[in-house]
Amino acid sequence: MLAWLDTIIQGVLLGGLYALYAAGLSLIFGIMRLVNLAHGDLIVLAAFMILALAAALGIDTFAAFVIAVPLMFVVGYGLQRLLLNRTLGTDILPPLLVTFGLSIVIQNGLLEAFSADSQRLSIGGLSGTSVPLGGGIAVGVMPLINLGAAILIIVGLNLLFYRTPVGRAFRATSDDSETAQLMGIDNGRIYAVAMGLALAVCAVAALFLGSRATFDPSVGPARLIYAFEAVIIGGLGSLWGTLVGGIVVGVAQTVGARINPEWQILAGHVAFLIVLIFRPRGLFPRTIE
């Protein structure tokens, strides 16, 4: 019994990581109806960025992470302004094709620069530290920080959306981008800020991705799938739903792995399909069709 409780707690913590993967994807889809197929690769890019910054500047992973967050914001802002804004329009195909291409470019670029070797972000003693909860159950400090970070980011994004002028501009643009321009809102800039925010969140996700397990240039697309599943389970347009969606995938994976280690990934996908069958619009749908 206790072992199952442990499994579920570990699954919730894993869900915090998937929610971080998904938050940026959810943000971008919510504001500009853009499905970013390079999202997973951008997380991996951020992980390599932290790795390279730490090596080049001789600083530790956390210091490199603090630099990588604003740097990824700038990457996102530029990417949207220079490339992705040109793909947005009534046709949904161009952004899909361009972000698919971007995914391939990022993977191969990273392969050139860093080789296919597995890498890991070193976080010193923190990686093995855990907090005992009693009854033989212990939770890792990093996974706990991860879940806390996911909750903080979702609270922060919600405050931004519902309490600030730029958040109102995000929502107005999402409702009706043509009319938003009549309010003096520069859509191109709003989209660029949104992508900047999404990639800053990717940098946070990258810290936990890279310190939890090894990564290499090819792992992005699988992160994208988990992120997609979390967003769809949660319901499009709802950030809290995205957190719940991440946790559903995380718990399904750890429970699956507990039954049979080979079933970990499969169980996450099965949970996703079950939710789709019974709640095709997700658990907390927000978008108006």
């Binding site: 002028p165 109102r168 409702d175 009319t179 321009q181 009549l182 309010m183 003096g184 520069d186 108006i288």
Partner: protein, 231 residues
């Protein structure tokens, strides 16, 4: 002094030409009404001035600057504000948030409190979703949203469309207060009686061309009908 001038303004929707060289000027503080049948190009003219539709450079001058080809959000920052046809409120924002977002690009003399004084009905419903308002209230919200940007030039696109006569009267009753703040108005109307009542000058469009201009007092019913229907 002319606030805005157009010079041979043309506009296209793809291959379809909607305006064939409109030349007119509007003085500071004036109220100009544009009338005409469906498809005459009235709304297109407002969209071109607002920057929603692209215009050739040199075709529009605002405060003696060439603004042809500039985008809508840039024009809002100059003080050209449009109330779009069909109101187009943001459905997922509350009434108050709709008003606040109106002041995103530019703020001025109009505050939330003054909008609520002008339309007390909005104050009672400030925290409700904009989509829950009645048609007339939505139009008041759309006007309030435009005022939040402190317009120098306010473009009103069919603000009486689909509303009951008594509601139309309430909405037009707000115009003097708006004009008192120094706003210049271009009003597009299908309702000729309403247009001639409020306007200093009336222009009639037909099939993308201007067919009649003048002061309301100088225009006979017959002349307006001829210009309106082209018969």
């Amino acid at each position: 002094m002319a606030l805005i001038e157009t010079n041979g303004l043309t506009a296209f929707y793809g291959d379809f030409q909607a305006l064939f060289g409109i030349t007119l000027s509007v003085e500071v503080g004036e109220t100009v009404a544009i009338i005409g049948a469906n498809g005459a190009g009235k709304s297109t003219f407002l969209k071109a001035i607002a920057g929603v539709l692209e215009s050739p450079s040199g075709a529009i001058r605002f405060e003696d600057h060439d603004i042809g080809g500039d985008r809508a959000f840039e024009n809002v920052r100059r003080g050209i504000v449009m109330i779009p046809e069909g109101r187009r409120l943001f459905p997922s924002l509350s009434v108050e948030e709709n008003l606040l977002v109106g002041g995103y690009g530019r703020r001025g003399r109009w505050t939330l409190k003054r909008i609520y004084d002008l339309f007390p009905m909005l104050a009672e419903r400030r925290h409700m979703p904009a989509s829950s308002l009645s048609g007339g209230q939505q139009q008041m919200c759309a006007i309030g949203r435009a005022l939040m940007a402190d317009p120098k030039l306010l473009l009103c696109d069919e603000i009486s469309l689909g509303l009951a006569p008594i509601v139309i009267r309430d909405i037009y009753a707000a115009l003097p207060a708006i004009k008192a703040e120094g706003a210049t108005l271009i009003v597009v109307e299908q309702d000729i009686a309403q247009a001639t009542k409020i306007a200093d000058r009336v222009h009639c469009f037909q099939e993308g061309r201007m067919t009649l201009s003048g002061k309301p007092s100088e225009l006979t019913r017959g002349a307006i009908h001829a210009a309106y229907f082209g018969i």
